[in-house]
């Protein structure tokens, strides 16, 4: 560029013509555009040298993304830049809203610009990693169009938490029984009864590991009791007034739930959606994951200490609170019923609601 002082410098650079899918044509320095393999191939094929024969870019490249891509190419095609410079450019470059980023990824892929595809896909991966499904849906505006059943399929049963695994299995078993009951008898009443047990057992079981051996035994006994009860098909009537009593207790649960949130946001983030989705409906496929030996003590002994158990309790309560907003009414009742009745399971033989007075003591035990 130093020799020609007569000729204007711009004339030394060769330009090529690019046409985007919407028909608009623009002129770009060749050295910049050549950074894209796609454009490079087209140039070798003889295209792009004049306005009448522009290179037609793939449909996924619109003018906005094209200018972004060209900015990227313009920076990186300069050979003298240090790795540090390139990295910091990249970091600033990908700061854009998610939709733009997706379009950019798509466009870079169609132009075969692999470094940019890597950069953008890494950025998108960072936005997905570690987030709950709700957060991801919000970030990317993904419609929540799965039915509850589909959400329960084992596809998503890959959790990172043995507690969740346990909860999953317990719920799965309960759901299975629920299903059977539904086929036979009055749905509402029966189902509630059985589900009630499950949450009870669940909570007491977890709570039982808080070092209280008595409770552990009672947990197991409760299980046996339940089985017997199932066979007898006892069913307490539905307590509609349990709803009113559930709200104050829910209030306390809420505050506890929130405190547990602040203490361990990450765990909560991972736990919550799984539980809520699991509890929505039954799915027989989940039985595959409901092993029969699930109540082995050794399973719980997976290094879960009492402190965390208490957290689990609070989180379960918090699940209930959250689930309240999502669930159909009857399941909402279930949970609150279940938690209230926990300590007085034995006396439930047909007298369900009358024992809900004992909820206070039960919850206090939780909250310790």
């Amino acid at each position: 560029m130093s020799e020609p002082d007569v000729i204007k410098p711009e004339m030394m650079k060769s330009y090529i013509w690019l046409q985007t899918a919407d028909g608009s044509i623009q002129q770009v320095e060749q050295e910049v555009a050549i950074f894209c393999p796609f454009i490079c191939h087209e140039i070798h094929a003889g295209m792009g040298s004049s306005k009448t024969y522009p290179i037609s870019l793939p449909a996924r490249v619109n003018p906005v993304t094209l200018s972004l891509i060209l900015d990227y190419c313009r920076f990186h095609q300069v050979p003298g830049r240090s790795n540090k410079e390139r990295k910091s450019f990249d970091e600033k470059f990908i700061r854009m809203d998610t939709n733009r980023l997706c379009e950019l990824t798509s466009a870079a892929d169609s132009l075969q610009l692999k470094p940019l595809v890597d950069l953008t896909s890494r950025a998108l991966a960072r936005m997905i990693e570690g987030k709950t499904p709700e957060e991801i849906r919000e970030t990317f505006h993904i419609p929540d169009d799965l039915t509850e059943e589909e959400k329960l399929e084992p596809l998503k049963n890959i959790t990172d938490d043995p507690r969740i695994r346990l909860l999953n299995r317990l719920y799965a078993r309960k759901r299975k029984e629920l299903k059977e009951k539904e086929k036979l008898k009055n749905v509402e009443v029966e189902a509630e009864h059985v589900d009630d047990r499950s949450v009870d057992e669940l909570l007491s079981f977890i709570n039982g590991e808080n070092g209280d051996t008595k409770e552990v035994k009672t947990a197991k006994n409760k299980k046996k009791n339940r089985r017997r009860k199932d066979q007898q098909k006892n069913a307490p009537p539905v307590c509609t007034n349990s709803n009113t009593s559930s709200s104050p207790s829910n209030g306390t649960k809420e505050s506890n739930g929130i405190s547990s949130v602040s203490r361990d946001d990450r765990v909560k983030g991972h736990c919550l959606p799984n539980i809520s989705e699991l509890l929505k409906l039954q799915d027989s496929e989940d039985d595959r994951f409901a092993l029969d030996d699930e109540f082995d003590d050794c399973d719980i002994g997976d290094g879960i200490d009492p402190e965390i158990k208490e957290q689990i309790d609070r989180e379960v309560e918090d699940f209930a609170r959250r689930l309240n907003s999502d669930w159909p009414e009857r399941v909402q009742e279930l949970l609150s019923l279940g938690q209230e009745r926990r300590p007085s399971l034995y006396s439930i033989n047909g007298n369900g609601c009358s024992t809900k007075r004992s909820n206070a003591s039960g919850l206090e035990k939780h909250e310790k």
Partner: protein, 379 residues
């Protein structure tokens, strides 16, 4: 969030190949969680070509250090749900000992003949004996093993497509090693970190034979014991072949000690035989020095090394550096012979006291440098 027609959901309309690219860049559990995002996303995670399970790197997650949790509730379910070819399988295990479950996983993978990248690190407990079925994975391009026993069947002919081989504390017999090395001409990256108890049998071949079989080698990383093995017999010669492709040398793990003559000479041997070397990375050990012969002193002026020109050397990193004369001489040689040198980073061993450190610094300042841009950082 569920409004249709308002903010568009662009990410779901990306082509599956790009979605896979995104999904393989996050821990595999997160990738599988995307299956409940929407109808669109239900099955993408099942076709990702890479399965990367890692509880070694990153913050210690105690729930995963239990074999039951890690293998049974993370690896197994994902393997069962996965469809399509697995091209890359990475399992870095920390706190989980070798067990038959790993064998089952390998057996499952070995039926998938397209596997190109297999990495298995078992960082505790006894070494894991690899099944014979494993050796059928002929498409392997990357193989990383840590704490395993490598005992191929007689019919094993090596992994001919291998580009990267990484053996960390892998016990292997000399003849089996020969079998692998003799049949991977494409190997570019070779790491062998081992001790006496890992390299079994009579290791009688040396660097010359090694490099003859690996013409495309670009990165070599070895620990002290294998270097001693390979250097037997060639230590005072110049390698007849020039390792023109070798770009990066790493001397790593179980320390190199320039107090031992063989270590110093073998490093020099390798460095001086690689005219295109660009990076040297060394981890040293602080041992009391043996009596080092006079020939190794004052390397820069030594006749054997006067021809050396490290024209491409850019970065040298030495950790656990001590103020032994041999180490200082080595740095002096490097500085004098590398016109393109950009960075020398030296981490001084903690046991060197402050006076020693000052001595190192004051001497290093005086060394003549072939490269005006060389930056020496001493930590």
């Amino acid at each position: 969030m569920e409004a249709e027609g308002l903010p568009l959901d662009r990410i779901s309309s990306l082509p599956p190949s790009i979605i896979h690219l995104i999904l393989i860049r996050m821990p595999v559990r997160d990738a599988f969680r995307t299956s409940i995002l929407s109808q669109n996303w239900r099955h993408h995670c099942r076709y990702i070509p890479t399965l990367w399970f890692d509880n070694f790197h990153g913050p210690y997650d105690e729930t995963l250090s239990n074999k039951c949790t890690m293998l049974h509730s993370v690896v197994y379910p994902i393997l069962l749900l996965h469809r399509g070819p697995i091209l890359q399988f990475i399992l870095y295990l920390y706190g989980v000992n070798s067990c038959c479950e790993i064998d089952q996983i390998i057996l499952h993978l070995s039926r998938n003949a397209a596997l190109k990248d297999f990495r298995l690190w078992i960082c505790s407990g006894d070494e894991h004996k690899l099944l014979p079925a494993f050796f059928k994975l002929q498409e392997l391009m990357v193989l990383e093993l840590r704490n395993c026993a490598f005992q191929p069947p007689v019919t094993f002919k090596g992994f001919s497509m291998l580009v990267k081989l990484y053996f960390y504390e892998v016990s292997i017999a000399a003849k089996d090693f020969l079998r692998i090395i003799s049949n991977c001409p494409l190997l570019k990256d070779f790491t062998l970190i081992a001790d006496e108890k890992h390299l079994l049998g009579l290791w009688s071949f040396n660097f010359i034979e090694l490099f003859e079989r690996l013409p495309l080698l670009e990165h070599l990383c070895m620990s002290s014991y294998p270097i001693q093995c390979f250097a037997k017999g060639v230590i005072r010669q110049k390698l007849p072949i020039s390792l023109g492709r070798l770009k990066s040398l790493e001397f790593y793990g179980f320390g190199l000690c320039f107090g031992r003559e063989v270590d110093l000479l073998s490093v020099l041997l390798l460095v001086t035989s690689s005219p295109n070397i660009e990076t040297i990375n060394m981890e040293m050990e602080l041992y009391p020095t043996e009596a080092v012969s006079q020939t190794t002193m004052n390397l820069v002026d030594h006749q054997d090394y006067s021809y050396v020109m490290l024209d491409h050397l850019r970065v040298v990193v030495i950790s656990s550096f001590s103020n032994m004369k041999t180490s200082m001489d080595f740095v002096k040689l490097i500085l004098a012979k590398s016109p393109m040198l950009k960075k020398v980073v030296i981490f001084i061993n903690e046991q060197v006291d402050i006076h020693g450190k000052v001595k190192i610094l004051s001497e290093m300042i005086r060394y003549p440098r072939a490269s005006a841009k060389a930056e020496i950082r001493v930590y």
